[in-house]
């Protein structure tokens, strides 16, 4: 399988990237790790006459952990997330989720920027970033702007990012309390049948805040505010978990595909969310 021919660019700075995007418009596309884009090009599902390789662009890498936030450059790979002890201390859920993406070879190449910009409902990082209330830094011909992960996804492969904008970084507030990323898949290396990201805090046995987002159960990731609300003020007992599951099921909209029929997906979504809440709460 060989992709259609394209012109290849490897600019050293973001100005260079933006200039090529401006010149070629829709015909140009950036590539980070290439592990979503190259398979699509090989299948001729993506047509990219002008391919801009981001690997040499300065300022897009690096993991910065400060007192109240974390900044990940767009080119930070899943393997780097897994290997960073500092990041794991500050936000262990990132490592827990990254370890459940694909396989070792893919994780050396796949980047956080590519994963969140791609717009594939199967990608794991978008839901996680909604759970953690991250924001994405974009830069384009009109300058830089920030978009909340919770406002970024519009439909499958449709995001708030304009074609001539590049995602430069992901920033998130330091997560608090217990966490869990639970994922059900058909086999190792597979995309989720259902996945749940949960971050939860408590005091004296009572839940004080809970953030819940689901992956691959709609054409976008689903941040379920109601599911989180259902836990706040409770002791996270069985009744509260059932209420959170019911709220979550009201927010997702799965479709039937090779991972199963709708009823099965809803069932799995509930099971996965229950496990995620239980594990997160045990760590809170």
């Amino acid at each position: 399988m060989i992709p259609a021919a394209f012109e290849y660019y490897r600019p050293k700075d973001i100005e260079g990237v933006l200039a090529i995007l401006e010149q070629h418009g829709d015909d140009a596309r950036v590539m980070a790790g290439g592990h979503s884009l190259i398979p699509m090009m090989k299948l001729r599902m993506a047509d990219v006459p002008h391919l801009i390789d981001l690997q040499d662009v300065g300022g897009l890498s690096g993991i910065e952990v400060t007192g109240d936030s974390i900044r990940l450059g767009a080119l930070v790979t899943q393997a780097q997330i897994i290997d960073s002890a500092e990041l794991t201390r500050a936000a262990p859920i990132l490592r827990e989720a990254a370890l459940q993406i694909a396989d070792p070879q893919v994780r050396y190449m796949g980047t956080i920027g590519g994963n969140v910009a791609n717009g594939d409902p199967g990608n794991d990082m978008p839901g996680l970033m909604q759970c953690l209330d991250a924001s994405f830094s974009l830069i384009g011909p009109d300058g830089a702007r920030e978009v909340a992960a919770r406002d970024f996804y519009e439909a499958a492969y449709m995001t708030d990012r304009e074609d001539d904008e590049v995602l430069t970084a992901v920033t998130l507030p330091l997560p608090q309390g217990g966490y869990a990323y639970e994922k059900q898949k058909r086999k190792i290396g597979d995309y989720a049948t259902a996945a749940a990201a949960v971050q939860i805090t408590g005091q004296g046995g009572t839940c004080t805040s809970a953030s819940i987002a689901m992956t691959n159960l709609s054409d976008t990731p689903i941040f379920s505010e109601d599911a989180g609300e259902a836990l706040v003020g409770t002791t996270v007992d069985d009744a509260a978990i059932k209420a959170a599951m019911a709220a979550m099921l009201g927010d997702i909209d799965p479709t039937e595909d090779n991972r199963g029929p709708v009823a099965f997906k809803k069932h799995v979504a509930g099971v996965i969310l229950r496990r995620a809440i239980t594990r997160a709460w045990s760590r809170a």
């Binding site: 259609a4 021919a5 012109e7 490897r10 694909a102 070879q105 893919v106 050396y108 190449m109």
Partner: protein, 176 residues
């Protein structure tokens, strides 16, 4: 046809220089241009790992990287890991413990295993299975592959422990 690009790579210690279309995938460069046919084409869809090579210290499925992306990189294939006269401990162990049957996945399997042992010189069975998850074998059922990697690790550690402690030990718990 797009403009050809000038590419330089170092493959198994040897410098290579050529002109190629940017769409040329690294696996084709290796197999058809450089006649390095150890890395195999299995699924060609980024899943099976038969085409695994090491690119600047990362295990990469070479069907999912353009040769131009690897410009300036150092690449190691199975050919750079051992020779028929001087097998790598992994090759010796795969032979000894029946870590292969048809052999199609073996070059990628061993290339990945070599990198895994570099990162984690004494992996548990679970860590081996997790660290080898990007390489599919249709014959062995993996049992003997795991055994082979464990045997190679033991061999490499015993021949090393006399000289120096293994450094850079990094463990990754199996999340799946």
């Amino acid at each position: 046809m797009s403009k050809k690009t000038h590419i330089t790579l170092k493959v198994n210690g040897k410098s290579e220089e050529f002109l190629a279309e940017p769409r040329e995938l690294l696996i084709y460069t290796l197999r058809e241009r450089l006649n390095i046919t150890g890395p195999h084409i299995g699924c060609e869809t980024s899943h099976c790992g038969a085409c695994t090579v090491t690119v600047d210290g990362k295990s990469v499925k070479s069907c999912t990287m353009f040769a131009v992306q690897a410009e300036g990189a150092e690449i190691t294939t199975i050919e750079g890991i051992g020779t028929p006269d001087s097998l790598h401990p992994l090759q010796e162990a795969f032979k000894e413990h029946h870590g292969l049957q048809c052999g199609y996945c073996t070059p990628g399997m061993i290339t990945r295993a070599a990198k895994l042992l570099e990162e984690n010189p004494a992996p548990s069975e679970e860590e081996i299975r997790f660290g080898m998850a990007g390489n599919i074998c249709r014959c062995t059922g993996y049992q003997n592959i795991v055994k082979s990697i464990q045997a190679a690790a033991a061999e490499m550690n015993s021949s090393q422990s006399s000289s120096s402690e293994a450094v850079g030990h990094k463990t990754t718990e199996a999340a799946e």
